[in-house]
């Protein structure tokens, strides 16, 4: 692009990059501290722990009943993924292909759960769920987590579907494919990258969703992040390192999916895609 070679411009550029580096270094150091601590033995008043050990992982696994918590976490996450995929993709298809009265209102309806922070709508939602019965159970947590994920899938999928030429579908229909076969043989293969990306991000969001799960979970329906919150909240009861070990397990369980998802989407889109509709 346009060159800027004055001293002022160079200083400004240097300052901008210094800020970025300061931020990134601090974030990485923060993550590194948790990881190192979880593998360390005694770490008091020094730069690094005295020795490395795996015992905190064993301790965390037993103390926090992590096998159960992990099982519940992924049961919840995959249920949310499956349901939001089915509900979201079908709705996105209708939104992308049809114009009908009230479409803009419906779009706003789908945007709201993404724009309003979970803690704001989570309290009335938890109240209603406890009233209805599923509050505190597996299905209560699933229902609550579907509130932001269904609209998320819809908003991510709409542009994906819009870019497929409707004439391809028309051709499939003319050559005799019914709605179901049209979907299985024509749409699904073309939409697969988009669906995969959307659902992986739903998985990440659900594993990392603290507020909604915290508000609606009972003792048997806690996910990893809520268990982590409680253990940090009750810090002092357990060794810091075993909490850190749990945090590392949580990190790994989230980041694996993120890394896979990033093969399909640009990081900017994770934030921006759902918001585009709102910008106009």
């Amino acid at each position: 692009m346009i060159r800027d070679t004055t001293i002022g411009a160079k200083l400004w550029i240097a300052a901008v990059w210094a800020t970025v580096i300061f931020f990134v270094v601090n974030v990485l150091a923060m993550i590194a501290v948790v990881v190192i601590s979880s593998f360390g033995t005694r770490w008091l008043g020094t730069w690094l722990p005295e020795a490395l050990t795996l015992k905190w992982y064993l301790a965390a696994w037993k103390e926090f009943q992590l096998s159960e918590v992990l099982l519940v976490t992924f049961q919840i996450a995959f249920t949310v993924v499956a349901l939001s995929g089915i509900i979201g993709v079908t709705a996105a298809y209708a939104m992308a292909r049809r114009d009908f009265p009230g479409k803009k209102l419906l779009m706003l309806l789908f945007l709201l759960p993404l724009l309003v922070p979970p803690i704001t709508y989570g309290i009335p939602l938890a109240t209603v769920l406890y009233q209805w019965g599923p509050g505190g159970t597996f299905w209560g947590v699933v229902l609550a987590n579907l509130v932001p994920t269904v609209p998320f899938v819809i908003l991510v999928m709409i542009p994906f579907i819009e870019q497929i030429d409707p004439k391809i579908e028309a051709a499939a229909r003319v050559f005799g494919a019914g709605t179901f076969r049209l979907f299985i043989h024509v749409l699904l293969p073309m939409l697969l990258p988009g669906i995969l990306a959307a659902l992986l991000l739903v998985l990440v969001r659900t594993v990392a969703m603290f507020e909604l799960t915290f508000l609606t979970a009972g003792p048997t329906s806690q996910t990893l992040v809520v268990a982590l919150y409680y253990s940090v909240f009750a810090a002092g009861v357990r060794a810091v390192q075993s909490i850190d070990a749990m945090a590392v397990i949580y990190m790994v369980s989230t980041l694996i999916w993120l890394l896979i998802a990033l093969r399909f989407v640009n990081p900017t889109q994770i934030v921006a895609r759902g918001k585009q509709a709102n910008a106009h």
């Binding site: 692009m1 346009i2 060159r3 800027d4 070679t5």
Partner: protein, 358 residues
Amino acid sequence: MQLSSTPFKELRLERMSRAFGSFNALREISLTIRQGEFIALLGPSGCGKSTALNCIAGLLATTGGGIFIDDKRIDQLKPEDRGFGMVFQNYALFPHMSVRENIGFGLKMRGVAKAEIESRVDAALTLVRLQGQGNKPPGQLSGGQQQRVAIARAIVIEPPLVLMDEPLSNLDAKLRLEMRAEIRRIHAQLGATTIYVTHDQDEALSLADRVVVLRDGAIRQIGAPHELYDSPDHIDVAQFMGFRNCLRGVVTARNGLQASVAVGNATLTGMLRNDLNVGDAALVAARGDDVTSGDEHANTLPAVIESIEYRGREFVGSARTADDVELVFHTPKNVAVGSRVFLSVDPDRTIIFADKEV
């Protein structure tokens, strides 16, 4: 208020080069442009013409050579310090400003007094015939009107040099002809030195005082439109100028500027464009307009008709020679597809180049 342009004697590109890594987009371009000239940079996409324009504008740094206005070297200057005007392919009008604000932008950046900006913008609006449209946002104008705004924005600052980057490529065919006439009129009226980038030879030939043909980042030929059209120096230029028929052969005889070339079993005579001797490999080129189907005379080539199209005044056809070369020709009467004909061409209208690929 009368607009004019800042005077200078000449703009010189001295071995201007630009490389992207190991790819040479521009190879030592040297060119001298006189005050008031209209220069067209012509070439296919990827030939380096836009790179050259961006280097002159300062939007792209050069990687070799220099750019001079009279004796002042300008290639180290930032684009905003060069004082040129530029018209972009997609207009690049500021969508958040009115037409007037768009046109007055360059003057505002130069700190010109408000009253003077107003009167110069008025003059520019009159020049591009957009009086009364000044307060609209550019998005409400048609494509042709937006392009007029872009031109007004470039000339209102009375720049020594106006750069135009394929300004008509986004317009439909009718509007393109109209705007071409408009650009010619404005240039005649202002006399601003202009460098115009295009891939359309009609545009280049009809607008420019001199045309610079670029290919693979290097200049192939510089000349007035009629020079390029009648006597291209290079086969690439010839093909750009409508010499669609091109045949490989070997020189069999030479007579001053004329030579005969054996092509298959036939012999074609034409005007030499390169210095060739008997036995040299040659390329024989002719325009479709100059090739007709006729009887077996001198300077003919047997071929089989592949297709024939009615064009109103005459027929245009394509035929294939025994050596599997496709030729375009015209004929006053219809010929059946598959029939054998003799295609003939006037030696004065046939040109011969050295065949460098052999």
